[in-house]
Amino acid sequence: MEEEEESILDEFLVECSEGLEQLDQQFVALEQNPTDESLLGSIFRAVHTIKGTCGFLGLPKLENVAHGAENILSAMRDHDMDVSSDGITVLLEAVDVIKEILEHIEAERREPDKNYDSVRKNLDDFLAASTDTEAVAPMTEAEAALMREMAGDDEVIVDDPDETQSSEETITSEATEEASGAEAVVQEAKSVNEISEVPPETTTPSPPKKSPEPVSKAPAATKTKKKLSLAESSIRVDVGLLDKLINMVGELVLARNQLLQQVRQQTETSPSNASSGTVQQINLITTELQDTVMKTRMQPIKNVWDKFPRVVRDLARANGKDVDLVMEGAETELDKTLLEAIKDPMTHIIRNAADHGIELPELRRERGKSEKGTLLLKAYHEGGHINILISDDGAGINVDRVKNKAVEKGVVTQEIADKMSERESLNLIFHPGLSTAEKVTNVSGRGVGMDVVKTNIEKIGGTVSMSSRIGEGTQMRIEIPLTLAIIPALMVTSGNEPFAIPQASLLELVRVDEESRNQIEVIRGANFYRLRGVLLPLLYLNEVLVLRPPKVSEDDIHSKGTNIVVLRAGDHSFGLVVDTVNDSEEIVVKPLSRQLKDLSYLAGATILGDGRVALILDVMGVAQEGGLKGDEQNDTGRMVEADVLINDEEGSATMILFSMNEEDRYAIPLSEVARLEEFDVEKIEQSAGQDVMQYRDELLPLVRLGDALGVMTSGEENDRVPVIVFSHHEKSIGVIVGRIIDIVEAEMHLHAAPSEKIGVKGSLVIDGKTTDLLDIEQLIECVVPGWLEEMVV
């Protein structure tokens, strides 16, 4: 516990000193260029981060000063106050004070005894003098109310005898016992609830005078012997230098490999070669050197996550919540720079989730959820990316409230907001200056969080997306590229070229012998493999990438069998056919030239042991390139997609339900349907023996489904008949059905049809009734032969 706290504090100090170094320069730059909003934003974020971190480290004085500075910056950012030299001076003074406090903390592991209330007062006075008071008043009131509320909550916690307290809090209680009178109440509230707001206003009890700080007391005794300043015990190295080092080691490894090979040949010719011992040693050292150098950059995501339990715990306690933090995949390694880059965004997201996402226990009980909220962190490699999921089972995000807020803040107009989809509305959260938090607390709700999250993640080429369901929770997904990461990959060759496939996408390897080649089925040019009774769509890597065929005869390949690498691309799986499957290797992902970034199948490149360059496949991109996940533009892609959907036992799809004669029921996936129409029977004409209809200035061929299926069609005597229109490219075809019943979401749990019938894929049970799933392409093919082929051309 102590050690953990120490490391958090150390980290904080390093972080702050870095931030402050820049702050001075930035302030000066801002003074010269007062309208630079991005600079102002950057300063604001830096100060905000210092303030926020102080909150949960229990450094009230530092927080107090930082908060005062932040209020002014906030006013400047909102244009409630002009950026003036006076303002900068006041802020710079505050920065100096912050530095002074930080130096003291680093030396003594606690805040100085000195009282900094006057500094805060200066800041507040300046704020009050420079802003229109009406603009500030509501916020200060809210803060005061919050303070009172929190103080109230804390007393409940402290009084609760069942409440288990950590040693540090016991110290706090003892410490506060020594304090006297009304002030003790405030201090107790403050020290236990380490992240509560420091009241800047006079409406609340006077700010705390010096009292023993909980964090400082315990470590002070143990750490007095620590003489080295943090700056001396670690050294900052330019990342570029490390890169150079890694590359040189890579070269060394290659040279070593060649050396080994030469020595091996020499030993064969003259066994008495004495240098082999030395070579062996070089070999070992090189390997060790390589490992060590790699380690300088790669770190498990755990290093960032380690501080989150504390953050969540403190936040939960402060708000009277019960939150369980679950972490999965903490060992996932990624590059130091990436790790650094995701640290702040993740902290923001987690604070948001714990602060706003997860509800109070009572509310959770009312909503029928367990009182303990769960916050799940999950990291994993997928499709050439590292995914980080942060999900909570909290209240979810009220999309309407987000929209209202956005309109209120002038981010979007009401008209645009009304037209926005749910997803678009959710994305408004990433807009700068938008926060739906009703109250401004010292950890979240300034409206800086989410826009920082987005910019920081995008800076490293990643993406953030979120989904939320009211009452069920919110999920944020951070996807970052593998740049510079080391990943396990399966090495394969196709068309004589080596390729690396990220192991994370790999499901299994299948080898089909010549004898069992009949297990590979061909449906209109698309290949499938029967994998344990399920049809697996196959892509041939050399065809997808238009590679030269390998320099072996076709018979040769066949006699060697077919190597299928079964891969997962998102929700689908497919088989990638390659020429040979080699070893699995740890590869270093190297970035590619900007000019190659457009190639979707390419995730990067790596250097093989023999010095050759191998391309790393983006599994998702290969699937796309192969038409597996296309926009249903080409026929093969469509068919494959439909098949994948059916193979997926868990999958569900939207279906159109209809009947021909009230006794039967049929279904067609809605995704295959262009339109539903109702036509006048009288308007149906004949052309070349085919029913047609003048429709949208064209002749729409019509198919009577009843005839095709060989069943009675009821309702044919009616004046109007329902028609399902299918479109492929420019062409459309209409299918006359009996009666359209409904559009439903149905599980794609396909049963084999009792008897095989043309155009019927199988049976589904929808709403308790057996429903035939139609293969509309086959039916059309049957009635209007050649229509599909023509369409492909």
């Binding site: 890579g250 990438l545 590619l592 030239s593 000019q595 360059v613 391309l615």
Partner: protein
């Protein structure tokens, strides 16, 4: 020698390219051309087919006999592939294709010139390497307007040497695969 048909084909090309040539490329070319009037400049020279070209020496990282490279499927045909240069993966551009020359006969020797660009080093494939020569600025002339478009879009201009013309390649532009 070119046949008549190819000449016409290139003429068409030029019209397209001129319309599409980005404004900043033209400006950049002018800027470098102006600078050239001050001192003698050193050029690392090479040959492409029968043409004599050069890149400014300070932009050249190294020169070597072209080594085996990994092709990048589905990329522009000008991109010959990727090579490993001491741990860096470097894109290789076939300068013949980039500048609109005919492909070199497969049995011919190929040389690599690695040039520095704002997007990192880029490997250019050329036919033969020549000497490093010093040229007087007064011999410089901006690209003649009748020059083949792809070539014109990639050079700063021409040095009128005594016995030949030296095409001054602009490495930034030449390594941009449009």
């Amino acid at each position: 020698m070119l046949t008549e048909g190819e000449e016409i084909g290139r003429g068409e090309d030029r019209r397209e390219m001129d319309v599409g040539a980005p404004e900043d490329q033209k400006n950049r070319r002018v800027a470098t051309a102006d600078r050239r009037h001050e001192n003698n400049r050193q050029y690392a020279t090479f040959f492409l087919d029968t043409h004599y070209l050069g890149v400014e020496v300070e932009n050249v990282q190294e020169v070597f006999t072209a080594k085996a490279m990994t092709p990048v499927p589905l990329s522009d045909p000008m991109i010959a592939g990727l090579i490993n240069l001491r741990g860096h993966i470097i894109m290789t551009i076939d300068l013949r294709r980039r500048l609109g020359f005919d492909d070199r006969p497969p049995e011919d020797e190929v040389m690599s010139i690695v040039v520095r660009t704002s997007d990192g080093p880029v490997n250019l494939l050329v036919d033969r390497i020549g000497d490093v020569i010093e040229v007087r600025p007064d011999l410089f002339e901006s690209s003649p307007p009748t020059l083949e478009s792809r070539l014109k879009a990639s050079i700063d201009g021409v040095y009128k040497l005594e016995d030949s013309l030296l095409l001054a390649l602009n490495t930034e532009l030449a390594s941009e695969v449009i």
